[in-house]
């Protein structure tokens, strides 16, 4: 018995039980950057007291690890929540090119006027990525400043389709 298939139903028949399960994918990158904590509204003494050694005027650096998680339903044709190549290029363009080997206080426009803490950098990264995720939904941005310290930005969990 031969079965006729149009392009549209290959996915449904061969891959495709309806894909209404939510799945997350996570991609990790590392970048290196320097920063310092200093609030011009504080006195020198207050800056030293609040920020400690992070207030060193010359700055200091970290190897940051960034994990970006996208949630969604795998596409019936491709089996993907979002093409990892697309996610890789997005993170390269929005994060690596902006922040890798930069002095965050002076060279990243989005951080101007903010103290570049882990919380604030993660929030800036969330705002850069969130509107540009074409498929699925940005679920979490986790930024490690060091292996023992990280900040998370977490979105609402997308609802299942049915």
């Amino acid at each position: 018995m031969s079965v006729e298939m149009s392009e549209g139903n290959i996915a449904d028949r061969e891959i495709g039980v309806p894909r209404d399960d939510m799945v997350t994918i996570t991609r990790k990158i590392e970048f290196s950057a320097s920063h310092l904590y200093h609030n011009p509204a504080f006195s020198a003494e207050e800056n030293r007291r609040v920020f400690g050694k992070c207030n060193n005027p010359h700055g200091h650096g970290h190897n940051y690890t960034l994990e970006v998680t996208i949630a969604g339903t795998p596409d019936a044709k491709t089996g993907m929540v979002l093409d990892l190549v697309e996610l890789k290029e997005l993170m390269e363009r929005e994060v690596m090119q902006r922040m890798d080997h930069r002095f965050l206080n002076y060279e990243v426009a989005e951080l101007k006027g903010m103290i570049p803490t882990c919380e604030n950098i993660a929030t800036v990264i969330w705002k850069l990525l969130e509107p540009k995720v074409r498929q699925g939904k940005l679920q979490r941005v986790r930024l490690y400043e060091a292996p023992d310290l990280f900040a998370d930005c977490v979105g609402d969990i997308p609802q299942r389709k049915n």
Partner: protein, 136 residues
Amino acid sequence: MKVTLTRRYSFSASHRLHSDAMSEAENQSLYGKCNNPFGHGHNYVVEVTLAGAVDPATGMIANLVDLDAYVQKHVLADFDHRYINEEIPAFKKIVPTTENLCIEIYNRLKGFAGAKLDRVRIEETSRNSFEYSGNA
């Protein structure tokens, strides 16, 4: 979108899993080698997660120096290099599983004034972990 800050700490301690509510044989059967009467030890990792608004003046949910001091005083000073069953009063009657350790440590840290405690996650070994977010 919610922002949280997580700091990882570690301590080394010994424990023994044994419940007075069960017979020797039942304890042995349930807890296996963790029931060894002399106890045994782990390098525990405690992840403490804080939630709250980021203060625009400091860029911080909470000052880590304050959190480090609080965790040192209320958790690490008591637990590090101790036998949990014998030296932590809360575990005189409660089995020191890592589930119960999460609850005890959460309760010790929830009074931190710098920000709201979101959750405590403990790795007993690199292959198992436990998490508690309070009963609210």
